[in-house]
Amino acid sequence: MSTSKPSITFSRRDFMRTSSLASGGILIGFNLFTACKPEAKPPVDLASLNYNDFNAFIKIADNGAVTIFSPNPEIGQGVKTSMPMLIAEELDVSWDKVLVEQGVLDTNNYTRQVAGGSQSIRFGWEPLRQTGATARQMLVNAAAARWGVDPSECSTSEGVITNGAGETLGYGDVVKDAAGMEVPDKVKLKKKSEYKIIGKDTWNVDLDKIITGQPLFGLDYKKEGMLIASVIRPPAFGQKLDSYDESAAKQIEGVLDVVPFGDKIAVLAKDTWTAMKGKKALDVSWKDDSKLESTADHDRILTGLLDGKEFQTLRADGDVKKAFASADKVLERTYESPFLPHNCLEPMNFYADVRSDKIHLVGPIQTPERTAQEIAEKLGRNPDEIHLEMTRMGGGFGRRLYGDFAMEAAEISSKAGKPVKVVFSREDDMAAGIYRPAIKYRIKAAVKDGEVTAYHLKEASVNSNMYGLIPNFFPAGAIENYQVDVAKHDSNITTGAWRAPYTNFLAFAEQSFFDELAEMMEVDRVQLRLDLLQNVKGTTDERIQYSPERMEEVIKTAVEKSGWGNQPDGVYQGFVNYYCHNSHVAEVANVEIEDGMPVVKKITCVVDCGIVVNPLGAMNQIEGGVIDGVGHAMYGDFAFEKGVPQSGNFDSYRLIRINEAPEVEVHLMENDFSPTGLGEPTLPPAGGAVANALKAATGKRLYKQPFTKYPELLTVPEKEIIG
């Protein structure tokens, strides 16, 4: 979630090493996470490194076949395909000759970290291309030496080196020589016009395995002797274990053990169903430990925070107070969102085998380094004893940044002395969440002489507040008097990152507000945004990283492509533009009336994320992000009553389905900027686009999510139905 500009200063020698393979061919090892982490320090003594210190490899066989071992965990964002594409491009091999394999992450040396927050490609862009180009140069140098010519005379194409006289050598022919060559310190990267792989539609490397149902996910992982653990946890946030009776559970055939740990109890069996049944048979009493909070409490507390005076100010320009005092008109609105569970379709699970000499962990986790460290600490072990393997993940959305389920597996295995896999039921998954916190925003703007003179945003949230550069997103820099204040309520309900943290709701609040502000000012709603962007041009404020020029282009393209303001009767549109994860996005929602109800039919989405590495994968991310945004704005609701979650499964928690999903029309801006985030930035604007279109259709403005919770605001005036 870092928003700092990547500054790439490294030397290939710092993170690459080559060796010849006994089986023939060359192995080029590099540390992908170190390479992609701008602040990372390279290892001091390269000679002392062994291959466990590298987590990514390029293998070039004697026959020229290229295998890229990617350690990058795949949560569905496509980096297992797009990151190797960057290497293959500069290595100058044909993509269909490249095999991508999931490398096992050996966590003996914790110098690496998995990138998150839509930053994988942004940070990998430079070093991964450098890695490919370096390998290519070594092969060229080897061929040139054999020919006795200068390497600059040689060119490459699709794995073949050609010299000035037209002689050729395949990569496979020179791998042995290349393995002994020095790693060059300077290499030349291709120009965009020379790309053969980057920018071309490239299919997901795991497609065949996915469509044939092969084991890929943590839930599919099996190991000889492994037991399944089903865990009962306190039913309410704020409760702890009082006492329990395991006799009924132990009577179930196949239940092998009952293991209490902390305030939880695990039931172990050879198979999942028996373990789940055993858990249900446990007779447990719980006792209150701290306050049991309800949604009504949060509602009251957050409103109290907004009404109060205790804020932390994250940005303040000019003097908002003064500007409000002298305003012609003032608009103030409050926006409210509920908690949200992540609901990855693959429930949380993890395998642990804790032994006296080593600890083996396997499963879907986005933060292997932190999780292994926490487990080592908890069990009083040396992190060097931990070996962690990552599996493909059935969705992440932020939930798998937290290693609570891996910790449970390790604690149970340690106590039971057996290898176990913790498997959450859907009910466990929803009730033991690390939720998107409930948040309220209050926004107030001042207008004087037809200009927006002040903007004051207040955030009241549960447990944590917006961070990083978010307070400096648009309209920061565009309005003279500008202030962002935050306050929080500390709760015992666990909260954390959820796809596009904070902006996932903030974008709706702000973009709804701008729409209403334009109405109050009686100006064109798109023009208001364009006018405000003018004020940001030429800013020297380094905290402002959105580009008014790029945003302007995105807005103008969205106007054109969506037919904004130029729709037949019965089509109502809503407009938003937004910047987050270093990408600029504009979305236009089309709402039509069907059977007297407004229906979201289409979203036009324009994205500027710089150079698009894999358009096919990018489009998939964008379409999914938009529909995910629409779905949660429309339906996502999660309440608590005395600390107990009120939804337990998909019969009481509504996710968007195919018949409710709008058509998504995507336009990618073409430019030469380095790539920026794509997994998240199309989600936040979607809710606002829908709300603004619904306002156009119904005449009623929505201030609270989910929209379907307020059916009275989704009715259409009589005349529209007749029309």
Binding site: I228, W273, R392, I656
Partner: protein, 153 residues
Amino acid sequence: MPTYQIKVNGTSRSVNVSEDTPLLWILRDHLDLVGAKYGCGIAQCGACTVHLDGQAVRSCVLTAAQVENKEITTIEGLSKDGSHPVQQAWKEVDVPQCGYCQAGQIMTAAAFLEKNPNPESQDIKSAMQGNLCRCASYSRIYKAVEKAASNMS
């Protein structure tokens, strides 16, 4: 525990499980067929979809006794090598993001197209609405079903 004869992907297999064990867990834990996924356990998400005598069913709510003497097909048995037209369409369109729900989606689509080879847009949406995709790859699921239909006809 009672013994059941389960016929999966053309082969009869014998399993010892308690009588209430859902087919999903028989497949995953006892027969090593992990293509059908667990998502909800209450027939709400469709990740566990398999074919029972050609019908798309939710394996998480069927017990061994209910499926004895019936033909069960899982994603592993839909084709030998991923060559079923629905699987091929899924590849062509590059549907998956995380991929977890896709076996269930494919099984639902395959059974649907078997009965309705020339579906209208609305038919596709009603047929597929029982299958959740948390990544919301719905645009591509729709396109792939359309493509499979046209490839099959």
